[in-house]
């Protein structure tokens, strides 16, 4: 952040400009401006409390007087009351939305507060007025970085480096951002340069440790992490880094101690529990490892890796049945994750989807069609696809009549367009028209036997028809993650006497439905109805 004295000078100038800009046309306005200058004068002469009282007095009579709000913000900032200062600056910015100093102040504060998108908007706006402001570029780079816009972040920090050519802090940030984009080799170079120029830079050892870790220079990374911890023994991220490095170096006892330290502070920390269990496993403390993983899964059943380690632990104990069970569970969870991308009915660019959604909400169907046509350019553009997308979007928005119109149009234009039959079928299913739905799903699968959503929905129909084996086959093939469908699969397994598969499916449901209490309740009923009290009890206790 800029120094307060600089801030004060800028603000004073801006307040003066602001009052001039408002051009009080009346005598009353001139008097108001005079009052503000009195407050300013008090502030300049080391009487901030009196200045604050004065400015509050002004604002009580003129709450929308932007210059007074700015001055109040400055006084609050000077008193170390950042949040209130920002509120005052933000109120001023609402009245004078193009005020560069306010844009900067509020932008930086939003970044600190964690509202990164707002920060980006404000800092970008500010930089239109002050394109060479190195501080603003620095903060903008950080905001981009924190929102995952790494290319934009790098661009901003490079612009910052043009202005602040010899600033080690900027080199450090550049190195950190390079590391964030995966260019760790260059990150190490820039971080090293920053370190040589200023060894006291905040977290430079940690940054170097991270970049070295990702260049797989584990010995170097360890030295940096240890140094970072020596400088700041309570720094959790440095300890996490050190633990990860020790695992890479197979220094299991050291890693175990690091994870134990991390867990002293936060006994529920998932990565640390996982790491500790891994160390115990490698140290052949098998039962201890099992206890840790079991406890972890009871806290968070979605940690697939815990099942992997459990499998290895049970194998080490010679319990091959349990080892196989855990291995299969891990595989199922990983498998479902890898199919996540393809399992979506609409695999479309999210940006196009969002844009078209707005256009449809505004009644602009042609615009939405155009968006999808443009997003589907090149080799894979097909005539029916944009119409399918609009239809799918309407169905998503709960407007089935319009949706069906577009889905049918897509099929007219392109009889094999992917997904249209499935969407129509799902609607039929919702209306209780099982036969029609089945025909649609079959039509989809005739075009593309691997269309996962159609497999899932047809599997659900087979379930309702009590054709258990066919239901199982289709639901498994679909790789569905939908709790309702998985519960049908679980039940179908029970119905066909495949209790082991049913139990495993129940554990998968526990992961995907962890925030869906209604699905969990259905699952618990199903398990209890099939005599699986132990598993039901375990699932009921998850997260408690």
């Amino acid at each position: 952040m800029r120094a307060q004295s600089t801030s004060l000078m800028v603000l004073l100038a801006l307040v003066a400009m602001g009052s001039a800009a408002q051009q009080p046309a009346t005598q009353a306005a001139a008097a108001l401006s005079h009052e503000l200058h009195e407050a300013l004068s008090l502030a300049e002469h080391g009487q901030p409390r009196q200045a604050y009282e004065k400015v509050n007095e002004i604002l009580s009579a003129h709450p929308n007087y932007a210059s007074a709000l700015k001055l109040k913000g400055m006084l609050l900032e000077g008193a170390g009351r950042g949040e209130e200062a920002n509120a005052s600056y933000a109120a001023a910015l609402k009245i004078t939305p193009n005020d560069p100093d306010l844009l900067y102040k509020v932008g930086v504060y939003q970044l600190i507060k964690g509202d990164r998108r707002e920060a980006i908007q404000l800092l970008e706006h500010y930089l239109k007025y002050e394109p060479k402001d190195g501080d603003a570029l620095f903060y903008l780079a950080q905001a981009y970085h924190l929102t995952g816009q790494n290319d934009a972040a790098l661009k901003a920090i490079k612009a910052c480096m043009e202005v602040k050519k010899d600033d080690p802090q900027v080199w450090q940030k550049y190195g950190e951002l390079l590391s964030g984009t995966g260019d760790n080799e260059n990150a190490v170079v820039w971080l090293g340069k920053a370190y040589k120029a200023d060894a006291s830079l905040n977290r430079i050892q940690y940054d170097l440790g991270v970049a070295s870790f990702y260049t797989m220079d584990f010995d170097g990374a360890k030295a940096y992490a240890q140094k970072a911890l020596a400088d700041n023994p309570n720094d959790r991220s440095s300890l996490e880094l050190l633990a990860a490095i020790e695992v890479k170096l197979a220094e299991w006892d050291d890693a175990r101690q690091s994870y134990e330290k991390l867990l002293v502070e936060n006994a529920k920390d998932v990565p640390s529990q996982l790491g500790l269990g891994h160390c115990e496993l490698e140290l052949k403390h098998t039962q201890r490892a099992i206890d840790i993983f079991r406890s972890l899964l009871q806290q968070d059943p979605s940690v697939a890796l815990a099942h992997y380690y459990l499998s290895r632990a049970y194998a080490a104990l010679g319990d091959s049945a349990q080892a196989q069970y855990e291995a299969e569970l891990h595989r199922k969870l990983m498998d479902a994750t890898s199919f996540e991308a393809t399992a979506l009915g609409v695999e479309q660019d999210r940006a196009a989807w969002e844009q078209a959604k707005k256009l449809l909400a505004a009644g602009n169907e042609d615009g939405a069609l155009r968006v999808f046509k443009e997003s589907e350019s090149g080799l894979h553009a097909t005539p029916g696809r944009p119409y399918f997308m609009v239809g799918a979007l309407y169905m998503y928005l709960g407007e089935p009549e319009k949706g069906l119109k577009y889905l049918k149009k897509s099929l007219q234009l392109e009889p094999k367009v992917r997904g249209a039959h499935t969407y129509i079928g799902i609607y039929d299913l919702q209306q209780g028209r099982l036969d029609e739905a089945e025909a649609e799903f079959k039509a989809e699968l005739a075009n593309d036997p691997n269309y996962l959503n159609a497999s899932a929905e047809l599997g659900s129909i087979r379930y309702r028809q009590k054709k258990w084996n066919e239901a199982i086959e289709l639901l498994v093939k679909s790789h569905t993650r939908t709790p309702g469908l998985l519960i049908e699969l679980c039940d179908a397994y029970f119905k066909t006497g495949k209790a082991q598969d049913a139990k495993m499916t129940a554990e998968v449901i526990m992961v995907y439905a962890k925030d869906d209490q209604s699905a969990i309740d259905d699952l618990l009923s199903l398990l209890r109805a099939n005599g699986q009290e132990e598993l039901a009890g375990r699932i009921a206790g998850v997260g408690r």
Binding site: Y195, Q205, L208, Y224, K248, L249, R312, R331, S338, T342
Partner: protein, 567 residues
């Protein structure tokens, strides 16, 4: 003055001195007379245009000198136009050159080939060859007269029309006849191919690329039991290795991982968990890969699993595994800890950093320095030509990597020391190793997806060595999965005859041992596939020994079949 962290590193960290090696690889490709060029698509818009390139070393005429078979592929456009893929067989002239005998041998057009492995399915002593194809397999019976006959249909293998990738011969039931495992990759129809760049799974770092394998259906695998009459019976389902999950199978190999005397089976699956099928001795297998620690990397992630290297690199008497992977997935080294327990020691072994940037394929554990310790190499080449346009700086052509064994469980990457051939950028796929010129200096033959092959041979190696060519009598004739244990200068080494390996390829079936300074081995033992141990006693170094089961070391003529091939 505050000390910089760089000083901390220099002073306090136990830095290994840079490893120096006298080993050099000489690129002899130009002088071999081999002019084979692998057909490839410049754009590789379809996955089958990226996955071929396996090759085999096969001494098809049993003259004691390895010959080379290169598999030939097509582009989709060529296949749709009805063009036939051209494979090639080169005969070793014993003078550093090779002669193209493809047409005469009758192996020019097996299919759109992906890989090749060697086995003697009819136990006549003549090595036969199985070619895996985009559309099934082709079994070539070696006629013993320099020619091969396609016996796919009569052997009962003609029903396979899937995309066959990995294969391996091995006698899993111990009846003395080599059975056959074939795995399959993606289920695709040339007439209905997924369009380039059309889905999320057809993008790489935001750029349009070929689709798959993720998002595409896989195909099941086959285990064929040898009926002892020139035919096979498909026993995949009853054996439990049919791959009901239809994972994307690539390289496969038979190996007795748990030292029970029964062959187990390892199958690489691309982007999915590998299979480690453990043989129960009654014709059934159970996959124990995940619980054994070889299905996934150390973080439980499934990697690309393409090339497979086996070796006892630490002299523990157990075969460890190295698997090559995609870029941003380090080459995984799974140390065999015994009792079906493997540890991913890639980081500690020092191979992750060098391998992480590249897409790895053919690989192998071989003692190129003849030091008595197995080194490790991998050849690389990206899948997508389009990476040349991405912002990450990836290249389609990539270098090869060579790691020397530090004798302590770690390796040192010395690719830049072993000659310019390893730095030459190519789009490599299969890579096989053998003593091409019977001088104890190993060579690597690389089949590149784009352009001609590369052959490099070890130079600057002064250490002693010995090699073994085995003939089974009660065991399968090529002695597949027989092991040889050599003790010299107080160190015992282990090696094993494998059908298949590397990436969809076949190394020389002869076993090579480096002996460092020892001019003889104090003790040599052969553990035949049936478990019988044959002690060959002490043997002089720098020779290739022919060993016949139950008869010990014999003249080479005695292990060569006297008759033409069995029909």
């Amino acid at each position: 003055m505050q000390r910089s962290v760089f000083h901390v590193q220099e002073d306090k960290l136990p830095k290994r001195p840079p490893v120096k090696t006298d080993l050099r690889f000489e690129d002899i490709t130009a002088s071999t007379g081999i002019h084979y060029v692998h057909d490839s698509s410049p754009d590789a818009k379809y996955i089958m245009e990226s996955m071929s390139g396996g090759l085999a070393l096969i001494d098809y005429d049993r003259d004691g000198w390895p010959d080379i078979f290169f598999t030939g592929a097509l582009t989709v456009q060529e296949a749709l136009a009805g063009k036939k893929a051209q494979s090639a067989l080169y005969h070793n002239n014993h003078d550093g050159t090779f002669t193209d005998v493809t047409e005469k041998a009758g192996v020019a057009n097996p299919c759109w080939a992906n890989g090749a492995v060697v086995g003697d399915y009819n136990n006549d002593g003549w090595p036969d060859m199985l070619v895996t194809c985009f559309g099934g397999v082709v079994l070539y019976r070696n006629n013993g007269d320099g020619t091969f006959t396609d016996v796919t249909k009569e052997a009962g293998l003609g029903g396979d029309h899937m995309w066959a990738a990995g294969a391996s011969f091995g006698d899993y039931d111990g009846d003395g006849w080599a059975d056959l495992f074939v795995d399959h990759y993606v289920d695709l129809n040339l007439q209905d191919l997924p369009k380039f760049g059309s889905e999320k799974t057809c993008k790489f770092r935001g750029i349009d690329v070929q689709c798959g394998p993720a998002g595409l259906p896989g195909s099941p695998d086959n285990l064929y039991h040898n009926n002892h009459d020139g035919t096979f019976t498909d026993v995949s389902k009853q054996a439990g290795v049919d791959d009901a999950q239809h994972l994307y199978g690539l390289t496969a190999i038979w190996e007795d991982f748990d030292n029970t005397g029964k062959l187990d089976l390892f199958v690489c699956n691309d982007g999915q968990p590998n299979y480690l099928y453990i043989n129960d001795g009654h014709g059934h297998f159970t996959d124990q890969a995940l619980m054994s620690g070889v299905a996934a990397d150390q973080n439980g992630n499934f990697q690309a699993n393409m090339g497979l290297a086996f070796g006892d690199f630490l002299h523990t008497g157990k075969m460890s595994i190295a698997i090559s992977h995609f870029s941003d997935q380090y080459m995984a080294l799974y140390q065999n800890d015994g009792e079906l327990n493997f540890s991913d020691i890639s980081d500690v072994a020092g191979i992750t950093k060098a391998t992480n940037p590249y897409v790895g394929w053919g690989d192998g554990f071989f003692d190129f320095e003849n030091s008595g310790w197995l080194d490790l190499f991998v050849v690389d080449g990206h899948v997508y030509p389009q990476v040349e346009n991405d912002s990450a700086g990836d290249k389609y052509k990539e270098p090869k990597l060579f790691f020397v064994n530090n004798h302590d469980g770690t390796f040192a990457e010395v690719s830049d020391q072993v000659g310019p051939a390893f730095k030459e950028m190519q789009v490599s796929r299969g890579a096989v190793v053998g003593d091409l010129f019977n001088d104890g200096r190993l060579c690597i033959v690389v089949e590149n997806l784009v352009g001609g092959p590369m052959i490099v041979c070890a130079r600057g190696v002064k250490n002693h060595w010995m090699e073994f060519e085995l003939r089974g009598e009660q065991s399968n004739r090529l002695a597949l999965n027989a092991r040889v244990r050599v003790t010299a200068a107080g160190m015992t080494q282990l090696n094993e005859v494998h059908s298949g390996g590397s990436y969809l390829s076949q190394h020389d079936l002869r076993l090579h041992f480096g002996l460092a300074g020892a001019d003889h081995a104090d003790k040599v033992e052969v553990i035949w596939p049936n478990g019988k141990v044959e002690n060959l006693g002490a043997l002089k170094a720098d020779q290739i020994y022919s060993v016949s089961e139950g008869k010990g070391v014999v003249p080479h003529d005695e292990i060569v079949p006297k008759t033409k091939a069995r029909r």
